[in-house]
């Protein structure tokens, strides 16, 4: 069974108010105000002088469970939203592997589920480990991206992206968080630029809550629990309002959705899930045996959920 052995996160020190980001992007006063007033976004983290390599390295340095076990890491998966992050032949992932003694591992990037790709990578890592033949084999899942273009900074009227990174060591056995289920619904009819396709954007907005709710229900059902039995939902940090509305829709207490990072980190692409997991652990919000759900939605569109037992 796939396990989440250990998670480490890196949040750059620089805190940037959403108003500053909005000003740089040329948003109107009202477009700017709604982020803080309604969407629950207040500031993001940025590392303006750092590279993608710096960002991801900082998370791996903090992954204490990796030290001395590098030889057991057979796979390194970089889960990201942006299809291209460096000019050919620059390959930050291979550079990372060499730096951290993981040059022997099979390494590759996972995309196409946008902000839900982190969960896909965990599932994929688990499948690779299940077929690996070595019960001690590990996989390293990396997340985190630079906000280097307008599209990597803003989802208009919805979210503002920040820079942060997370590293998750995935195993197939042992006393760790056990992945009980994974459900992903891919809705290719929403592939396209929302700002250029208003009809599609309207349909996406209308179907988003039901589609994410369905993914949550499907993951819970696969895990053999009801949604109400989940101790916690670890969300993607797109904004707080969409989760408040979704909770009302599915009858889940919003107080059991970890939204505390939304105002202080913003939407850190695929890293949200792991950052929120680390926060939950740090704050003692998960007790042994608790079953919690990680949920994410990605533009394009993918709706994903994963139930995990602590």
């Amino acid at each position: 069974m796939t396990t989440l052995e250990t998670v480490a996160c890196y949040l750059p020190d620089k805190r940037v108010p959403v108003e500053d980001v909005a000003g740089q992007l040329g948003l109107t006063s009202m477009q700017t105000r709604l982020f803080r007033r309604y969407l629950g976004l207040a500031e993001i983290r940025l590392d303006p002088g750092g590279t993608l390599l710096d960002l991801l390295s900082a998370a791996i340095w903090r992954l204490s469970g990796l030290r001395g076990r590098e030889h057991l890491v057979h796979y390194v998966l970089y889960a990201r939203v942006m299809p291209v992050v460096a000019p050919y032949p620059v390959n930050p992932l291979r550079d990372l592997c060499r730096t951290f003694g993981l040059g022997h591992a099979v390494s590759f990037t996972v995309t196409h589920h946008a902000c839900a790709t982190g969960l896909l990578a965990v599932d994929l890592a688990g499948r690779l480990l299940a077929e690996d033949g070595d019960p001690d084999a590990l996989a390293l899942v990396l997340t985190g991206e630079k906000t280097f273009t307008r599209d990597a900074r803003l989802v208009p009227g919805t979210s503002i992206f920040g820079e942060a990174a997370a590293a998750c060591l995935v195993g197939s056995d042992g006393p760790a968080d056990r992945v009980l289920s994974y459900a992903a619904s891919i809705r290719g009819e929403f592939d396209g630029r929302l700002d250029e396709l208003p009809d599609m954007a309207a349909r996406f907005e209308k179907e988003y809550p039901a589609s994410l709710a369905e993914a949550i229900s499907a993951a819970a059902a696969q895990a053999g629990v009801s949604v109400g039995e989940l101790s916690l939902i670890l969300p993607h940090n797109v904004n707080a309002l969409s989760w408040q509305r979704l909770c009302r829709r599915i009858g889940f207490p919003v107080g059991r959705v970890l939204l505390d990072n939304v105002p202080v980190i913003g939407h850190a692409f695929c890293a949200d899930s792991f950052i929120n997991y680390a926060t939950a652990v740090d704050r003692g919000l998960l007790r042994p045996g608790d079953r919690y759900l990680i949920a994410a939605a990605g533009l394009g569109a993918t709706f994903s959920a994963m139930v995990v037992e602590h």
Partner: protein, 97 residues
Amino acid sequence: MEHETLPQPLDTALRQRVLDAIAVLLPRVLDAETLVIAPEMKLMSDLGMRSASMLELLLELEDNLDIQIDVEDIDETAMTSVGDLADFVASHAVTDS
């Protein structure tokens, strides 16, 4: 400072003020100054409103009418017309306590 939602019946006077304000503010939000707004107009199909433009309009209404609106309760699938929106705003005014 805390806020609380008033569990109030529909305030018909406020509703009319909201409708009057929407008639002025919505064309500006939609960047269609000549648009004439009627209560029965559909927000999405007639006016092309999206979630973001809806929130912008609510911000404008808050400023214009000196109220605060609890948006957590918005059910956009049930709120189809300008009149529905006015009903929602008039029944979800938030006051300081």
